[in-house]
Symmetry: D2
């Protein structure tokens, strides 16, 4: 597929994700980690306008100069108008205006991509594609948060399908120790944090062929897992106490029965479904309770050819750190990954919300250990 076609396809998918929404759903920001859907739609557009159109298209006329500080990831002050705003406080630009902005930039981009694009700009455009795909995943998880924390529990879409459960019996797959190659080594797109293929030395390890199910996690809950500090990191235990956590996000215990909010609405909990929406702290505590551990990201990368993956982001034991020789690209693009390499954990795999073909075996996702609103899961190792 050529660049312009690819552009159209990816841009359209963002809007398809939002089709089931009411206008009001585009606007709210219930917690700081969630962004309003209209912000995602505007911000991904701002990326193409700012990094491709404005520097490279002669006489390009900015859609609205004020959008620069509405849709920039970091709100800045412009001139003397110092106004501190949170994304969820902004009723304007309206959803209609955001769609007009998208149409305006899309037209200019398709024009631009239909001509010859020099290689270094192609690279930047492809980065824009991947950037938009990351926001597509966030759109879905943020929409779930917005609807799932509304006391009316609205359904996103009756057509939404969560994963097909793998019914094969779980086994542990053994790997011998020694030197392994880690990191991306292809010619297609990858993020800078995957680069620098290099050798690591691993001890022998075993890893589960399956992800943990709701049923297995219920055993942890029923065995008092949330009440016993021995299974938890000190910070995890603080998090449990402070936030009165006693189950995964979106679980509700009503009249003696477990329910679970899904994009299909509030449902009785299905025991054989794959567990999701747990923090790293919970993943670690569950593994401790099992007498096992989480895999490192290197173990995962070596083992992943031997099992199915891709329906949950899998917490690893690894901290998000630079690979040997990592260096940031100069300029704004260089801010993409490197500056987040502290206090976060690596997740591997992909989730039901990840756009098709967006992830790969070397892909390094990362979140703070207390976050749960992504479609996260647990794979045990020992």
């Amino acid at each position: 597929m050529n660049l312009a076609e690819k552009y159209k396809q990816i841009r359209k998918y963002s809007e398809q994700i939002c089709e089931p929404l009411e206008t009001e759903d585009y606007v709210v920001q219930p917690v700081v980690d969630v962004s309003p859907p209209k912000w995602h739609l505007g911000h991904t557009t701002w990326f193409f306008e700012t990094f491709i159109l404005k520097p490279n298209v002669f006489n390009y006329k900015e859609f609205d100069v004020n959008y620069n500080y509405v849709f920039n990831s970091y709100y800045e002050t412009i001139g003397n108008r110092v106004i501190r705003t949170d994304r969820g406080n902004l009723s304007r630009p309206s959803v209609n205006d955001v769609y007009k902005y998208r149409a305006y930039v899309d037209e200019a981009m398709i024009g631009f991509l239909s001509a010859e694009v020099p290689p270094e700009l192609t690279e930047l455009v492809v980065l824009g594609f991947n950037h938009e795909q990351q926001h597509q995943e966030l759109l879905l998880s943020d929409i779930k948060y917005i609807l799932g924390n509304n006391p009316l529990f609205p359904t996103y879409s009756a057509e939404w399908k969560d994963i097909e459960q793998d019914t094969a019996a779980p086994t542990f797959i053994d790997f011998s120790g020694g030197i392994h190659e880690i990191g991306f080594n292809g010619s297609d797109f990858c993020f800078d944090n995957e680069l620098g293929q290099h050798q690591v030395y691993l001890q022998p390890f075993s890893i589960s062929s399956q992800l943990v199910t709701n049923n297995e996690y219920l055993d942890f809950i029923n065995d008092g897992g949330y009440q016993n500090f021995n299974y938890w990191h000190a910070e995890g235990w603080d998090w449990v106490q402070t936030n009165k956590i006693n189950s995964p996000m979106y679980w509700h215990f009503i009249d003696g029965q477990w329910f679970c909010y899904t994009l299909n609405g509030l449902q009785t909990l299905k025991p054989n479904d794959t567990l999701t929406h747990i923090s790293y702290y919970e993943a670690y505590a569950f593994a401790s309770w099992k007498g096992m551990r989480l895999p490192t990201e290197f173990e995962w990368e070596i083992a992943a050819k031997s099992f199915n993956w891709g329906q949950r982001w899998e917490w690893t034991e690894s901290a998000y750190l630079p690979y040997p020789g990592f260096s940031k690209a100069p300029g704004a693009i260089g801010e993409y990954n490197g500056k987040f390499m502290v206090n976060q954990k690596v997740l591997r795999g992909a989730s039901v919300a990840t756009p098709q073909n967006h992830s790969r075996i070397t892909y390094r996702n990362f979140f703070h250990p207390h976050l749960r609103w992504q479609f996260t899961g647990i794979r045990l190792a020992k």
Copy 2:
């Protein structure tokens, strides 16, 4: 006008206030004191449904049982579904659904009011009218906050008119001391906090015939009023320091010139306009700087026949306290006023946002001393 006609008129005005809004403007809550417009529309409807229709209309079918905890002033937990929500996080019910809710309740109410209404219910219905009128004022001030804190500074309506400035020269009117009658003593509606007409003894005082203008307040600013702790209460000074306050709300100093956000959009500051959007702390500091003081609510009530009032809520020196013999009505209606009688200041008069005929000379409005989003102003006394 009969009750049903009055009902229709008042209910319609709430919707007229919202006519210029985009759907998105109905949803957001930028600070805790501001409520989303759709919440005001729903909450005033919930009042009639809860206190009139449900207890008094045979076989009345609630519009939606969940609205009870969405539109109640105090979010409560329902059964086992403990979900803490802030009003600004709720994208649902949608604006359309809220208007459907209004139409549904209006139909039932008009039916109810078209038959004979017993006197004690008439009283409750009239309380509902006044309740809705108070929310009409809040609708306007909240809408101003929502639009005026948006970096795009959207105009509410080009037709909006702020007050006609009184151009008469200000004078001080003298009143002799002695015993005066205070409080409501009529047969029309009043709030319980105005009741109990009683005598107070006042010292002789003088009060200004006019409200303070922007120009006079600019003198205070230019004389370093925000930098000199001597003019301020200790708590006022903390408030100035902590929040870096250096002008009234909605004022912006851009490129050496003062601008002011109004419901007509961002405008250059008009020096002769009546000052508005200042806190009690600022009103007190300004009076101190002038070598004067604010009137007490009793002085104001005695003097108000001698000057024009009604375009700004006027901060008084009085704390909001019960009149002699005040007692709360039993039940939920009794929560209306009495429970707020601590740590608040009385404001007298009415503002440009107050519905016609809603206020009167004995009316006691009240807010915390740091709040500025209402159309507040200053009248000096000595």
Copy 3:
């Protein structure tokens, strides 16, 4: 008694209060409203050094120039050394150094007072006496807080005696309405907030001859007073919920029995003792539950000749506001009272911790409505 003798007597009493303390007790500050005892000893000394000695004694040599910002009520930055400190973080100056500071200033003051003192300075010295007496009361309440919140519950002194309980049966004393004189009108010392004797008009009222006892308050607790929002101000109810309040300060329910920390150590609660250490919120809620109310400060002042008072500070319904004609003295002394006249409630009477002859019938004490560490109590009115 001459000024020098009076000075010695008052200064000595501050040190006598601290005699039972360990050095460590002088240092800590468990909450922001409590100051370390050594700070009180230093601050009262700094007052005499700053306002009497430095401006009036030729060649007076400051004890330590740094003490100015250690013992000033408002920590300020000195030159370029910007260090934000809390009083409880300061291990130095040591307790020994503070006593040396007191001895040094005392010697200079006694020399100064032994000569002729001009009238305006006499006034300032007498203000210093009253200032130190106010800190003597704070010393006792702060020491009680420091020891009473230590898990070892140390005894302050076995000799400490709380009040003798008045065993006369409580009655309600009736007062007729009309004009009464309020405020100080003598030639002795009073604070500026009592000045301006003036007339007020009161409605007829009744007031209790006795303060509320522990027993009566236990009835409120046992009747669910802390669980029923109807008795509380909205802010009081928030305070109860947020801080999980279910009894007066220093009460502990241990193994089915009520205990109470006193300056004699932890004791079983004596039911006939006068209730103390309750907030205004609690006083109001208790009165509501009784179907009565708190007196205003004017009612209290008129009625106080008819009952015994002086063992508890009695919460009134009145907000702390200026009397007619109140004006602040120029300079630092003017900061004494006026700047606190917002968001506080007036207390009348005196407590077991108040130095003898410090209070009087026109004395206006004031605290924020949530505070409980003073020896506060309740007198009912209706």
Copy 4:
């Protein structure tokens, strides 16, 4: 040296560290990371009483049953007396009482150690030695914080000597890549987090022979290092902005000159001294600005035989994670290290405050990335 002698020597050194203190210095806790010196003295004593004496000495009589929740690392509620306390709020037990507690436990411990001690208890006693040595380091850094944040800048001791500066010219030492052995492999004491000697694969690297000096860091400051977000992690940049950081801890810019608080008091900054008291965020930003990076803990362990170390704790790029095969010991002792293995960075080496022979080449110290009150430093790698 036998166990009893070793015990005496180590216990005595804790008290020697405190010899220069005033009683008041033992009591305060200016920030949550700092503990009052008397708490360290009590807590290390509580360790021996709780884990050695109470379970193993027949008829041992606890010194004071209440000390259990005063000196436990985690304050717990005892029975019905639920009192939440912070360490810095506790004036009791007094310093004298804490020394009595030490003497009492020391006598019992010396008796116990003079008889035959079974091997598993010997291990626990040696853990107690190392535990006390860790608190000796904390005693020094906490005392520095207490005195260095006092506006009087008291001297700890004129005899205190910071490090001798290595005057050799810095060079970069090269190491080839390949497989290396990491972790403790001896028969002496080590912590559980060093255990599991294992192989790692390293890329070739270079590491500096010297630590960064004040002078080099001043270049970073003067080049605007604290004003350029490009050098910082996103969280580091937030930390700089929120806390208005513009220099290492204890540096003060007074009248155009840099000063530095040391345990000898406030001094002019010595440019050739080894930089200390910087956070990981600052270490990372400095390395970025240099175009270099921090070493990993594995690189450091391999290289450390080739340079002098031991005067500063050296921040590494490595997150604090378990070594392969790590498992927690059962019971309270197992809480020692494992539960902290999230969101912290590894520091290697030892500082001027580390007791002699306490550290070693495999020692893994760890702190949160924002902390600066330890004697931390920077060694560059590339």
